[in-house]
Symmetry: C2
Subunit: 342 residues, 2 copies
DNA sequence: CTGAAAGCGCTAACAA
DNA sequence: TTGTTAGCGCTTTCAG
């Protein structure tokens, strides 16, 4: 590695000091246009590439961001990375990936250690890591710049980006009700994923507002996985008074519900409406395509990276909390309730 | 950022020179045990973390690897990253993600530029990027250390990791034939993905060996996507002499074939056997679960990272080509041919 | 507007 | 076995 040609070679060729070259490199003011041109020309002629490492050492910034995640859904992670990378690209940063188990209790000190080794300038925490209080507090204590994606708790200390989970779940439920469904079951998300859990609140809110009762056993405790959705579906559909619609807190569980329904010989959406949340690719790759809620994960990650970069540049800038809205996406897996037809 | 405490503080506290501290830090020999202990103690007492940036500048190594990819399958990318990260973790490296379009012709110079800026010590190219000759040659010309994953071409210049695509495709076809299928159609992969295309050769090889003819229109040109699989399925199943089995060169296309079959009212596997390749999560999340070929992507990426790190450490080490085998995974989407039952 | 000098915090080469 | 002296290639400080 290492560029053989350095800032000194450029300075010599342009017959200026290295400081002037540095000024040109960093787009600093106070350089005469003619000088700037001469330097630029020398840079091009020598095909000079400044060493980021040397720059980092002198400027005390790595121009690297860390992205932490612990999510079994590859698509979610991919969107996260794509969004963060978009912001990084436009700001001259690079992205280090930091998958870490949210159950590991040493993560805070490990990440803080990497920060102090000047591996990166700050980190983005995505759910469920953004809900781990010990981690967030630990990093804050070590003064690691950070922003949170979809934190479930109170929004105060660190900048964050979130979406309207609860409202979207409410809207989805209202849509099901408007289609004539009254016996609607819900497959709740993993209890450690706070944002996913607020979707349950949105469901209950809509049911209550419509004056519909929800039997206790119509809210099934899922774990965000396809398998837990399959179990939920099997359990809910085995009931004597089975629901006409099942709303799962994410698409993987919804896909599991669909398989369970098929095992019982039920047709979707004729016998049962199913809907999910997140709008991951599987939603349109199963049959029938799932009604879901599109989550702007990529935009959220991009915004989170922007907030983090701003915070790194201006450490005293104010904490910000940004909301990016999710939208309903009606497809083929939901339809009028059977009774409503009769 | 930046550790306030430096190697000098440690040296002062341990009453040795900074060079000795450096020796301890890098596990170099020729340090008396007692001295080493004193230094270690000082490091712990001060909670010292050496700056990677300073180390990089002096040692001319970043201890960062770049991972390039351009694959629409999030699961594939996730496995790739997980594998590379595993090798990185055990060698003290970090991973920078570099998604780049394989159609972009400037990528080689862009990546070479990043390398010369000392952003990373080397890169791993995954398919289809590992098949882009201009990219591979461009990077080699700029002397960027690299290893390739599943390159389709001749294995000579750069170290690489590959799998037995063609053989696995042949075995899958032989399995279908052993189940009584004679009219087997194949949905080929994207022509730019050389490794995926060699699967076609494996299919044809087995058919030929069994003395079965393959009508020209029984090899459908797919594009690796779910949608192209759906189209392939629609086209193949609309034929008057429709196949009793369809083998798709990847799982997403196989999932598309399943949907097309369902639209025609065909039951899988009773009326039609379907199988895929790659064994991505969707294979077991659709109904019925897909017979497929498990690709050891993660192990391949891990091995590729190991080869790259070795190459960085010992630039003169020999080029290596490692094969990691793929295995058949029979599930519910394949069964005996209808005719065979009769 | 421009430059000289002094680091940033570590490793490498050579002495001792 | 240990230390000394130079850098690595930039940015920053402060003069001019």
């Amino acid at each position: 590695m290492s560029s053989r040609i350095t800032i000194e070679d450029v300075a010599a060729l342009a017959r200026v000091s290295i400081k002037t070259v540095s000024r040109v490199l960093n787009d600093e003011p106070n350089v005469q246009i003619s000088t700037r041109q001469r330097v630029t020309e020398a840079i091009n002629r020598l095909n000079f590439r400044p060493s980021r490492v040397a720059r980092s050492l002198a400027a005390r910034r790595t121009f690297i961001l860390g992205l932490m995640y612990d999510n079994p859904c590859a698509h979610y992670v991919a969107k996260l990375q794509a969004g963060a990378l978009r912001a990084c690209a436009s700001e001259g940063y690079d992205l280090l990936v930091l998958p870490r188990s949210y159950l590991n209790t040493d993560t805070a000190s490990e990440i803080a250690s990497l920060y102090r080794q000047s591996r990166f300038d700050g980190v983005i925490l995505s759910p469920p890591l953004s809900d781990v209080t010990a981690l967030v507090q630990g990093l804050r204590q070590e003064r690691v710049p950070l922003t949170l994606i979809s934190p479930g708790g109170a929004l105060v200390e660190s900048s964050s980006v979130h979406t309207n989970d609860q409202e979207a779940a409410r809207l989805m439920t209202e849509y099901l009700i408007s289609m004539g469904h009254r016996d609607i079951a819900f497959v709740a998300g993993h209890p450690d994923h706070v944002a996913v859990c607020t979707r349950t609140a949105g469901f209950l809110e809509a049911m209550q507002a419509a004056g519909l009762s929800v039997p206790d056993d119509f809210v099934y405790a899922g774990l965000n996985s396809f398998e837990s959705g399959e179990q939920a579906g099997a359990a809910l559909l085995a009931k004597p008074e089975r629901p006409t619609a099942i709303f799962a807190a994410n698409d993987e569980m919804a896909a599991g519900v669909c398989v369970a329904a098929r095992h019982r010989g039920l047709d979707i959406p004729r016998d049962l409406s199913v809907c999910g949340f997140d709008d991951i690719p599987i939603a349109i790759q199963v049959w029938p395509a799932l009604t879901s809620v599109t989550q702007p994960i990529q935009d959220m990650a991009e915004k989170a990276a922007e907030l983090l970069i701003r915070q790194i540049k201006e450490p005293d800038s104010a904490v910000e909390h940004v909301e990016i809205r999710s939208e309903l996406m009606v497809r083929e897996s939901t339809y009028r309730a059977p009774e409503a037809d009769a």
